[in-house]
């Protein structure tokens, strides 16, 4: 995997920003100060304060941690369930693989957002539970997409040839099929990451069973939306955070992007 200088700089800066947030100084994200609301950046508040006088840097920091937690939970759930089942369902053509695709289709039939609303009402809305639900919903997507791709790849003459020469299923899947579908998985994943963040923002927007005192980039976007014109930096900051994450994943995972560059 080769990156151009520009891309290295972009990734470097984004990672730097995220690391800066993670290690930024800051006290409790809940500390309200009604006498210092909507302050501009200063030595005391490096990024200023919000409408409740909370320190924005602290909020960004905690939002970053929670957002990464949610992303991790979503990615792991989505990839593990989606890719493994998708590969199996596509490669083997029998009753259980068809059953798998059938189940995946049921999951896909219900909009991610609605499924997430219902399930988070069950589990409570935390970064991990939201991540799990979003990942679970996207796994249906992976299963269907990957199983179809694998079917296509499998029908290629050289795979059939490999099979006839007695090479094991496992070897064919990991050596040959895998190589063919990996770019697609990565592209999908690279795009999916920011979708997770935005879906999460949407979930907190509709807001069932949330903890309003916790900061997330998503909840910040929603809470500060009213200040889009009066105090735009409140909205721009979480957007910048999301942008950095999206950028890193695009550059590192989107192979179509690389082949263009």
């Amino acid at each position: 995997m080769t990156l151009t200088t520009k891309e290295r700089i972009a990734v470097g800066l984004s990672v730097l920003f995220i690391v800066f947030l993670l290690f930024a100084p800051g006290n409790s994200p809940r500390q309200v100060d009604m006498l210092a609301t909507l302050r501009a950046p200063s030595a005391e508040h490096w990024l200023g304060t919000d409408h409740l006088g909370r320190d924005l840097l602290t909020l960004m920091k905690h939002g970053c941690i929670r957002t990464l937690l949610m992303l991790f939970s979503a990615s792991v759930t989505g990839l593990i369930i989606g890719v493994s089942l998708g590969l199996l369902a596509g490669y083997f053509d029998c009753w259980w693989s068809r059953g798998l695709v059938f189940m995946a289709e049921i999951v896909l039939t219900i909009p991610t957002f609605i499924l997430a609303l219902i399930i988070t009402a069950l589990l409570g809305l935390t970064p991990v539970s939201a991540g799990f639900v979003l990942g679970f919903s996207s796994s249906g997507h992976y299963i269907v997409q990957i199983s179809q791709l694998v079917k296509e790849v499998k029908e290629r003459p050289y795979i059939e040839l490999l099979h006839k020469t007695g090479i094991s299923h496992r070897r064919i899947i990991f050596r040959h099929v895998w190589v063919n579908i990996l770019p697609v998985i990565l592209t999908s994943f690279g795009n999916q990451v920011s979708n997770y963040v935005l879906d999460y923002a949407g979930l907190t927007f509709i807001g069932l069973g949330t903890d309003p005192t916790q900061a997330d980039w998503g909840t910040m976007l929603y809470q500060y939306r009213l200040y889009l014109f009066d105090a735009p930096w409140l909205v721009i900051l979480p957007c910048l955070g999301i942008f950095c994450i999206a950028l890193v994943f695009h550059i590192l995972f989107d192979r179509s992007y690389q082949s263009l560059a």
């Binding site: 049921i106 039939t109 219902i118 009402a121 069950l122 979708n195 976007l221 263009l260």
Partner: protein, 308 residues
């Protein structure tokens, strides 16, 4: 013929499975609609009051009886009445359906079209202008959520430039702008898929051979890349059709469009079982329709590719 029969059976099974899921899922959610109803009128949650409301809604019967009763009525076209509002669920869902369909379907189809065009242009020229556009587009689409961009557009188009009125008598401007926004967000992802597929085609030996014979890349890609790419694009779009009914809530809120999603989310937050059930059944019917159409297209794409 047997194949068709199988497909039919599979969907029949899906309908049944979804009906069970639709029935049980809302009932698994914590909290009870009766409590919401009483809360709405600031009435105490006493056993007497609960009993009155339960009897009114038929929630005092066993789950099996409730399920059988609901499904039986449902098949006959009576989808029940919403608990909180007393509205006829079927009438209400179908009244709201056109808004959601127009917004989301229009947006999705436009998004697919735009993705194809943009992806095609991007692949033609290595590291060219369109490639950059597509990259910026994808990043923007994944950074600014619709809950921000929608507000920004309304502010510019309506309050600043006085071009359109979104909250007046006509919902059409809101629907149009929402579908453009949906197209924007959808194509961000779809463009990458188009590019991926076209790149793959472009790397095939025969394409390069044809280019050396004097055919332009554009012509060759258009002719030989079309089926493969379209196949990938349609496959990626198919699952997206699911959120046509119910996934557009944020835009519906922002543009005050009375679509299905807003109604549904209100109902979820009040645990209005009847509405959620009706909605899930409608969604599965809709997806059945979309699968028939898109899978038909996919088959014909494959046949045509084979005939090339």
């Amino acid at each position: 013929m047997t194949n068709l029969g199988k497909i039919f059976l599979r969907w029949l099974g899906l309908f049944w499975a979804v009906s069970v899921v639709a029935f049980l899922l809302p009932r698994l959610m914590p909290d009870y609609p009766v409590h919401y109803y009483l809360q709405q009128y600031q009435l105490p949650v006493t056993p007497e009051n609960i009993q009155i409301v339960e009897e009114q809604w038929g929630l005092n019967r066993s789950l099996f009886v409730q399920y059988g009763h609901w499904l039986g009525r449902f098949i006959q076209g009576d989808w029940g009445r919403a608990y909180m509002t007393g509205l006829d669920v079927r009438t209400e869902l179908f009244r709201r359906l056109p808004y959601s369909l127009l917004m989301a379907c229009g947006g999705l189809l436009l998004g697919g079209l735009w993705a194809y065009v943009l992806g095609f242009l991007a692949v033609l020229q290595e590291n060219g202008f369109w490639g950059k556009v597509s990259r910026v587009h994808t990043l923007l689409a994944s950074t600014f959520p619709s809950l921000i961009s929608g507000v920004l557009l309304i502010y510019l188009l309506s309050n600043r430039w006085k071009l359109l009125s979104f909250y007046g008598e006509h919902k059409l401007p809101g629907i149009l702008i929402s579908s453009l926004l949906i197209a924007f967000y959808q194509s961000g992802h779809l463009t990458r898929i188009v590019i991926r597929h076209l790149e793959e085609v472009k790397a095939q030996a025969y394409i390069q051979t044809m280019q050396t014979r004097g055919f332009s890349l554009k012509t060759v890609l258009w002719k030989y890349g079309y089926h493969y790419t379209m196949y990938g694009l349609l496959s990626a779009m198919l699952p997206q059709f699911s959120w046509v009914i119910g996934g557009t809530s944020i835009l519906e809120y922002t543009f005050a469009i009375p679509g299905i999603s807003a109604f549904l989310i209100d109902s979820i937050s009040h645990r209005d079982y009847v509405v959620i059930q009706g909605y899930l059944m409608l969604t599965i019917a809709w997806m059945f329709g979309m699968h028939v159409i898109v899978e038909g297209l996919l088959v014909s794409l494959q046949q045509e590719e084979a005939a090339l």
